[in-house]
């Protein structure tokens, strides 16, 4: 057994989620390994977001468990959060703060220091040059999304869980985001994403899991 030496994986074991009294999925099992991109597919209402929230530990599944490095994320909690970057439908940025402030505070809460200069650099990279010190509420929808996505560039998390990351982005930004995700995966990171867009997916390490088709 090479426990501890191998890079940790994310295991999903017999996961079931219920919303209201409707079963979204039952006994879902799969594994995400380092340097792997998991594309989660499924029609609206098949539980993609629910699954992602369960993987992030925001939502308690009905049964089954999610394991990081062979331990249940419920018991790991903060230790697991350290490796995780979750981006949901909400951007998680404050409208009254500037893009740079948002980024720096997110970084501090994620447990690392981000200098003002580095924050500006990252925002320039994501295409927000000239908007760094504007209150975020004055930005467009796509620009707000970019502020949220700038965290991907600044962060060192190993697991990215991205719920519809391409929404509201223009063509250039979609291209940029794909590159960012590809680089992350090539460097040994994991990414779990949902998207409805026909994005030419990224590299040969892409796997697909479909929800809602099996027991339809």
């Amino acid at each position: 057994m090479n426990h501890g030496t191998a890079a940790p994986t994310l295991e999903i074991d017999a996961l079931s989620c219920v919303r209201g009294d409707r079963v979204l999925f039952r006994d879902l099992s799969f594994e995400v390994r380092p340097a792997e991109l998991l594309h989660l597919k499924g029609r609206n209402g098949t539980g993609k977001t629910t699954l992602l929230r369960a993987l992030a530990g925001l939502l308690l599944p009905e049964s089954g468990e999610v394991r990081w490095d062979r331990r249940n994320i419920r018991s790991l909690r903060e230790e697991y959060s350290r490796h995780l970057l979750y981006l949901g439908h909400l951007n998680g940025i404050k409208g009254d703060l500037t893009a740079a402030e948002n980024l720096r505070i997110a970084a501090t809460l994620d447990g690392f220091e981000l200098s003002e200069a580095r924050a500006w650099e990252v925002l320039g990279e994501i295409g927000l040059k000239g908007h760094e010190d504007l209150p975020s509420k004055h930005l467009s929808q796509g620009q707000k999304r970019r502020v949220a996505l700038a965290r991907l560039l600044a962060n060192q998390a190993r697991v990215w869980i991205l719920d519809e990351p391409f929404t509201a982005l223009d063509v250039n930004a979609v291209q940029l985001l794909q590159d960012v995700i590809r680089r992350h995966v090539e460097n040994g990171g994991m990414a779990i994403i949902t998207t409805h867009q026909a994005v030419p997916m990224i590299g040969e390490h892409t796997r697909t899991v479909s929800l809602g088709s099996a027991d339809a």
Binding site: L59, Y86, L90, D96
Partner: protein, 222 residues
């Protein structure tokens, strides 16, 4: 470990400074409520001195309840709250930071303005002092206890009423000992014991309330 605490307080204070009108709502409400009573009741100093502690304290309690919903609702709406639950920081610590920031913005102004309002009631210097100390010990407790209620009612449509019903019973001891401290000072008995009890309640809620609030927030985001 204290770095994130500092940042969360700084963040919330920055936001509060950029939308000052929210801050003044609480303060102005307090000033209006407390100032109307002397006008309505009439200028009999004996009566005013008698009712002052109760009225100032009830005003402070209502004002702080008015501000409660704001603690988490904006963060809940824009997704920063769920991000907070996903950081490697202990959630209770972040909650403590948020409550402290909330108290600095909504509670401290009440403490500062209270002696001025107390003058309308012809309170003696000793009584004013007791009033300030009791508010200083009591209002953070109100914020801490209120945060539990705010977290529990997060995302509910008519959360305001439910919030009031949830926290009011827990506010009552604070009200009794807070107003009691001033009253005891006015009548010459000395408010020491009341203030000690207020301090004890503050310490207990300082330890327990952030934990309860953190748990409630996890449920709210589920």
């Amino acid at each position: 470990m204290l770095e994130p605490l500092y940042w969360i307080i700084r963040r919330d204070l920055t936001i509060a400074m950029r939308r000052r009108s929210d801050v003044f709502t609480t303060l102005i409400f307090f000033v209006i409520v407390v100032s109307l009573f002397p006008l309505g009741i009439g200028p009999e100093p004996g009566t005013l001195r008698l009712i002052a502690p109760g009225i100032v304290w009830v005003g402070a309690l209502l004002a702080s309840m008015l501000a409660l919903e704001q603690i988490f609702s904006a963060d809940h709406r824009d997704g920063t709250l769920e991000q907070m639950l996903l950081t490697p920081q202990p959630v209770a610590l972040l909650v403590a930071g948020k409550v402290l920031a909330h108290w600095l913005v909504s509670g401290v102004p009440l403490v500062i303005i209270a002696p001025l309002l107390g003058l309308q009631y012809d309170l003696s210097m000793d009584a004013l002092q007791a009033l300030v100390i009791s508010l200083l010990l009591g209002t953070p407790t109100l914020s801490l206890i209120g945060a539990i209620g705010a977290a529990l009612t997060l995302g509910l449509r008519s959360g305001g009423v439910l919030l009031a019903l949830l926290v009011l019973p827990l506010y009552i001891p604070v009200l009794i000992f807070g107003a009691g401290a001033v009253e005891a000072t006015v009548s010459g008995l000395g408010g020491q014991s009341h203030l000690s009890l207020l301090g004890a309640i503050l310490v207990a809620s300082l330890v327990l309330a952030p934990l309860a609030t953190a748990a409630a927030l996890r449920v709210a985001e589920d």
